[in-house]
Symmetry: C2
Subunit: 375 residues, 2 copies
């Protein structure tokens, strides 16, 4: 019998509740398909930070890098300033473990309420491949005041003026700035990954950028995309400005197969995608390092106001669990988990409030585990 | 009789066709409400650029700055690399004329098909106040190679590593970067404007940012927002991460009254907003300098593939025309134009293809002008 060791970070807010159900379902899949999981719990999150001052240490990350896959609940807590936990734990893990793909299936399951008129599960079934370690996520920026040597605003206006031969004035005294950066290697590997996915499924790849305005960074992205596209003459491609793609996600989701996107735009459009597929309670994601340690999580946050209420939908987390065991090689068990989720939804008997039901988080996890064992 | 001189830039693609209808309706409003417009045509756009090499000169911009309001069609052409015309004409005008507010009403008109289930005109009626001269729109960025003194990637990774005490490696040979910047003055004036709007209508202001990741630039935005909010204890406020707000636009548009947003996120969410209000054919925008020269345009692009076909919907442009004459002080005429648009839509007899009809651009403009004169 196959044995897996899987590190788990339940995290904050509702994290522990949903992860409990995720583990329950994976354990059931193990029982059904003949594998055994040894769960290794990690305490990182708000409480741990408030008690010890530690976010996640390099030692812990090194330890995690020995495994193939990590199961993550959710990170974020109202007691702590925005970004501290998210950057210090979630992004630190994505970066340190070089999880350069953020894979987000946008799939409307049969029986799920879709906020869009006239769209069915046949229309909403695509995958977003989000770059996950670069772009505006690198965390570089600062503030500057007029008169200091760092007066970037003055510099920028001067450069901008020079570019268009225009005299544009400013007299602000203080500015804040942020730098985004993408590397050739980092851009190529995520675009390569998206074309590989397309090759497997005979589909097309849509690229997202804003090359008409953020031309330096996304002009580069577009060039790399074109170079790789030229090596795949059989794959159809198109370009979408990030503003426009939010419209097409709503109006014509059936156009999309594989969408490849820089990190920040990927963050934005996958939340929209989650809503289009029925809501955050149903949207899983994988932070993938194809040659290293991947990490699977629901794409929703820690929902502090629901903490401890046993109320939220565990399906996103359970679905992320399916992606996790697929990554470990348990394809049949992974598919069975998705089928069990679909059956639970279609039966519409045991559901959380967001799907119109009145059952608990625990009820739904148990029901999906039951279905899996009876399948 | 009031006399106005209004400069017009029809621009590229379908621009001339829709602007013709926009002028027709404003002229009709003038006939009905007693004012007269002298239209001053400007040739800027793709053809002019290809013929003369000129985008828009400082002389022209200076000339334009003598007027209160400009009427703009659309800018953009497939023969020219992405960004050249958009930055060289549209953004140059926004920046040079210091149109620091981009005002975008998101309003579902009675009788318009909405892509969202269960939402009515009562649910979709809010205003996005987009900052319009700063942020990632300043056009500063570049490329760097390993080994040169400009190796920003190395720097960034070192800084990022230092921040979290982690050792993150990179070995890419080439990077591209982009810098965004917001100033204290630039941030305050747009937030002030949004609170002024809220005070007038006893409503609430929602701020958009991504302070949990782009903490330097949007942490600053959030601080300024908080400072201004403290001066308006009667106005309710909330914060929305840009990823999350795309979900709420779809799920709960009725939550929003005034949404204030940095430039780039504003670009993205207003396209989504346009779709939610029935599509780009219906979404107007104003680039406002409250003490200078404003510029009104449909928020859609130049749609090159429809050029010369007399096919696209002129309503966004006509609605932008209503915003324009309101800015000039013709409030009654401005309201009448919107009423005429609503009547045209409700009658559902003369409509373009995007609204299920088979009439031309010209037909719709003429119909709205007729309704206005008969009202
Ligand atoms: C919590 C936050 C840092 C994160 C992100 O921006 O990537 C989240 O929104 C996501 O999409 O996984
Ligand atoms: C054409 C483009 C430069 C412009 C922008 O990004 O601002 C457009 O998308 C808009 O929203 O007005």
């Amino acid at each position: 019998m196959a044995q897996y060791k899987i590190p788990v970070l339940p995290g904050d807010g509702i994290g522990p509740e949903i992860i409990t159900e995720g583990k329950k379902v994976i354990d059931a899949a193990g029982e059904r398909f003949g594998f055994d999981v040894d769960w290794i719990e990690y305490p990182q999150g708000a409480d741990h930070y408030l008690e010890t001052g530690e976010l996640i240490s390099e030692d812990t990350l090194k330890e995690l890098s020995a495994y193939d896959a990590i199961y993550l609940g959710s990170i974020g807590d109202d007691r702590i300033a925005p970004g501290v936990l998210e950057k210090g734990i979630l992004l630190a893990a994505r970066f340190y473990l070089d999880q350069y793909i953020n894979l987000r299936p946008i799939k409307l399951l049969e029986g799920v309420w879709c906020p869009l008129k006239d769209k069915t599960p046949a229309d909403i079934d695509f995958t977003v491949v989000r770059e996950n370690t670069e772009d505006f996520y690198i965390g570089i920026g600062g503030r500057a005041k007029t008169g200091t040597s760092k007066d970037l605003l003055e510099v920028s206006r001067t450069l901008y003026s020079a570019k268009f031969g225009l005299d544009i004035e400013t007299d602000s005294e203080e500015i804040a700035y942020q730098i985004g950066m993408i590397s050739k290697e980092g851009t190529q590997r995520v675009i390569d990954y998206s074309f590989d996915l397309a090759e497997k499924s005979d589909k097309h790849v849509s690229s997202v950028d804003k090359a008409n305005v953020l031309s330096d960074i996304y002009g580069f992205w577009r060039e790399e995309f074109n170079t790789i596209a030229a090596k795949h003459p059989d794959v159809k491609t198109d370009f979408n400005y990030v503003d426009a793609i939010t419209m097409w996600f709503v109006k014509n989701p059936e156009w999309f197969d594989i969408v490849v996107t820089p990190n920040m735009f990927g963050d934005i459009i996958t939340d929209l995608g989650a809503m289009v597929q029925g809501g955050l309670g149903l949207a899983p994601g994988g932070n993938i390092n194809p040659n290293g340690t991947s990490m699977f999580e629901p794409i929703h946050g820690s929902a502090p106001k629901y903490k401890g209420m046993n109320k939220v939908n565990p399906i996103a987390t359970i679905w992320a669990g399916s992606m996790l065991i697929e990554q470990l090689g348990e394809k049949e068990a992974a598919d069975a988990i998705v089928s069990a989720i679909e059956k639970n939804i279609l039966e519409a008997k045991v559901q959380t409030y967001d799907m119109g039901g009145s059952n608990t988080t625990t009820d739904v996890g148990s029901d999906i585990a039951r279905i899996l064992l009876e399948m």
